[in-house]
């Protein structure tokens, strides 16, 4: 195989419910500035610096056609190559990964942003629904998720208490993450007593509104070794689409995730994820998702994720801590979430996660999804 692709620098803004003090570009720059400083890289067209930029944002969320224009000046696009991916940002990392593997480019800046405080979440998500049949129902990703949660719980006996324990774990983990938006010391009763949003999903089962940005720099192995003391290698990566119409899917299943995971694991030589991966950062916008996605990732048999969580294996200090950062539930914007998971995994593998460090992290699993009930799933395996 050709040279590997390394992540040489990462930065995230502190996630916040409302960053009215900064526009999208200024927000992204808070993260971009950090990775530029850390590596000392400049934007250049002669191979001496950053060759290209991949941005990630959604026009619907930014309320702007060509939303990359919101950040273009801040990410070095002038007289340079920039492309904008319009999915969850783990896909932007995947794109940069492919570009470097192709040999066409060596060093790439990846930057993503989303300010959920600015947009009408329900209206935006409703606009993703089939205009003829589904939009008029007022369906959005929350109600779609509620359908999935209900189906998943019915088919496999997952309980609301088990879902609530995901929230307790992640909001609790967030207390040790200085960038986390809303760490909370809460109980299962608090979660089950919170207001119903769309049954069975309650307020505390759901992530809060969040503004934030994330940036990272990827480089071809030869350059990565010069740019970072400890480059983190992308050992495997893939994504996968599911069919669109919710009625055509058994929502208790996540075949797209199973497929994406298989491909990523194969690339990375992972045959036994529970024993070969030391830490996982999984995108969980709603509490049931952490359980469902763990099953899709092969952490356990179908229907066993609740028991896996209760066994303590995925807690801090357990065999495979999941979301030591607090995950999306502690406050992460959509779109940014996937790359944020990757940034956190990089910190874990570099041993720089401070108080939320998972012990002995050598390989990390990163997951991100886009669309209703995770129609597009992405998985990456990172290693040091």
């Amino acid at each position: 195989m050709t040279e590997r692709v390394g992540i040489v620098a990462v930065a995230q803004t502190k996630y916040s419910p409302n960053r009215a003090d900064a526009n999208e570009g200024e927000l992204v720059y808070e993260a971009v500035r950090q990775v530029l400083q850390e590596t000392g890289l400049k934007f250049a067209q002669d191979g001496s610096g950053i060759d290209a930029t991949v941005t990630c944002s959604q026009d619907f969320w930014d309320g702007r056609t060509i939303s990359s224009c919101n950040v273009m000046s801040y990410v070095g696009h002038h007289h340079s190559d920039e492309d904008k991916v319009a999915e969850d940002s783990l896909n932007a990392v995947y794109t940069a990964f492919a570009r470097i593997l192709s040999g066409h480019q060596d060093v790439i800046l990846v930057a993503t942003h989303c300010k959920e405080s600015q947009g009408d979440k329900r209206g935006i998500e409703n606009a993703a629904m089939d205009p003829i049949f589904l939009r008029v129902l007022g369906l959005d990703f929350l109600s779609a998720a509620a359908l999935q949660a209900r189906r998943y719980m019915y088919k496999y006996g997952i309980t609301p208490e088990q879902c609530a324990r995901v929230v307790v774990k992640n909001r609790g983990n967030a207390k040790r993450n200085p960038l986390a938006q809303e760490p909370m010391e809460i109980t299962v009763e608090d979660v089950l007593g919170s207001q119903v949003l769309a049954s069975p999903i309650r307020q505390l089962d759901s992530k809060p509104t969040s503004d934030g940005a994330c940036a990272m720099i990827l480089a071809r192995e030869g350059k990565a070794k010069k740019l970072a003391r400890k480059p983190i290698w992308i050992l495997g990566a893939s994504n996968c689409y599911e069919t669109n119409y919710l009625g055509d899917r058994d929502l208790a299943e996540c075949d797209a995730l199973v497929t994406a995971a298989k491909k990523a694991y194969k690339m990375a030589g992972i045959k036994d994820v529970m024993n070969q991966v030391n830490v996982a950062e999984i995108s969980e916008e709603y509490s049931y998702q952490e359980l469902l996605w763990m099953e899709g990732l092969g952490f356990c048999q179908r229907g066993e994720a609740g028991r896996l969580l209760d066994s303590g294996v995925t807690q801090m200090g357990g065999q495979l801590p999941v979301n030591p950062s607090g995950g999306m539930l502690a406050g992460n914007p959509t779109v940014v979430a996937g790359m944020a998971r990757a940034a956190e995994a990089v910190l874990q593998l570099r041993g720089e996660a401070g108080e939320h460090q998972a012990e002995g992290a050598k390989k990390a699993l990163v997951h991100g999804f886009t669309g209703a009930c995770g129609q597009l799933q992405g998985v990456m395996i990172l290693g040091n």
Binding site: H77, N244, T259, L376
Partner: protein, 389 residues
């Protein structure tokens, strides 16, 4: 370096102003099926799917998700890009990188827009800086008008030259079964007699809003040679963005700033040993939203010296039978489904290299072609295609 990548399948819809007979998925499905048929491949042979679409035009968030089945993406990897006018070429670029990387041996690349579904001018106006740009924006038309004025002043081009370009485009469109606007224009006088839209642009000088899709199938070298006897190699893709001009949106009236087109052309030619573009390259499919811009782009892409673009037109050099044909397909002025327009430029250039452009095949033998894209605040993507590497 990575794998070599070729275009092995090309498909388009018959572009129209409205496609009320189909929804978005069905329309895109037409182009996908056409590309698969052209490559004699089945949907399962496609390993990944990349799409381009400016979703605010249709008011549909995550369109690639809605049409996952129709675009053969079910249980497959892929993603969508959205960079504005250049989006349809950015998606070709990503397909190129992904196949070259070895992650996939085949990929489907799709650009489309169904502009009967929304208000295009409003969506374009929505591309300005959200806070301060509102209220004073005029859509793309006013900006192109100013650029035409600049070109007239600087180069000495006359309205007759713009009319000649319009006539050339229509001749091509009338011979291109897929083109949208086929006006059957007979003379320069007919063009000059039509009314002004925004002076000096006439109604005829500007591109339409089209509904259409274009799909390309890319393959790595080993697969390409098994799929087709006539692979069209993607030799290189160069993307150059730029900060907005200080004195204009798509053009610089002061004449002091660099254009992304110049820079992209320089990089592309240097990287690929092209020293005399009109000789080393056989034809071009360029992204010209107006005929005025076509002439100025000849200069920016270094087909000729600055200020001389209109002379190429006057001498008939860029006609289908000419020494350096440009836009024999009719160009953007005949067909413009925004998210797909640059993909169509690549597809049309590829058809020329393959010798499969039928009635709009150029006279000159095409072993090398260039396709360009324009968007945003004058961003450029240039794709170089070759019959053999």
């Amino acid at each position: 370096m990575g794998n070599r990548v070729a275009i092995v399948g090309i498909g388009q819809t018959y572009h129209k102003s409205a496609r009320k007979d189909v929804n978005q998925q069905e329309m895109v499905g037409e182009a996908v099926r056409a590309a698969l048929a052209d490559a004699q491949m089945k949907a399962k042979d496609v390993e990944a799917v990349f799409t381009s679409n400016m979703e605010t035009f249709e008011g549909l968030f995550l369109p690639d998700h809605l049409m996952a089945d129709e675009i053969a993406a079910y249980m497959k990897p892929g993603l969508k890009v959205a960079t504005g006018g250049t989006s349809g070429a950015s998606v070709v670029e990503e397909g190129f990188h992904f196949v070259a990387s070895g992650l996939f041996d085949t990929a489907l690349v799709i650009g489309f827009e169904k502009q009967d579904t929304g208000d295009t001018t409003a969506a374009i106006t929505a591309a300005v800086t959200p806070v301060w740009g509102k209220g004073v924006a005029t859509g793309a038309i006013g900006e192109f008008a100013k650029q035409a004025l600049t070109y007239m002043e600087r180069s000495g081009a006359k309205e007759e030259h713009a009319a000649m370009v319009r006539l050339k485009a229509d001749k091509g469109a009338c011979r291109n079964p897929y083109a949208h606007l086929k006006l059957g224009l007979k003379s320069i006088k007919e063009v000059l007699d039509s009314g002004y839209l925004v002076w000096p642009l006439r109604l005829l000088d500007f591109c339409p809003q089209s509904c259409g899709a274009c799909a390309l199938i890319l393959a790595s070298e080993s697969r390409a040679k098994k799929i087709t006897k006539k692979p069209v190699w993607i030799a290189d893709v160069v993307t150059v963005h730029q900060e907005p001009f200080r004195a204009g949106s798509f053009g610089d009236p002061t004449g002091t700033e660099e254009y992304s087109q110049d820079i992209a052309a320089e990089r592309l030619y240097k990287r690929n040993g092209i020293t005399n573009p009109m000789k080393d390259i056989c034809m071009a499919e360029i992204y010209e939203p107006s005929n005025w811009e076509e002439m100025s782009h000849y200069e920016h892409y270094h087909f000729c010296e600055k200020g001389e673009g209109w002379k190429l037109v006057e001498k008939g050099i860029t006609e289908m039978e000419g020494a350096f044909p440009v836009n024999p397909s009719g160009g953007v002025i005949a067909t413009n489904p925004i998210g797909g327009t640059p993909t169509i430029r690549v597809a049309e250039a590829a058809l020329q290299v393959r010798g499969d452009a039928g009635e709009h095949q150029v006279t000159r033998d095409v072993h090398t072609a260039v396709a360009t894209a324009l968007g945003g605040p004058n961003w450029t993507v240039m794709t170089l295609l070759r019959r053999s590497l």
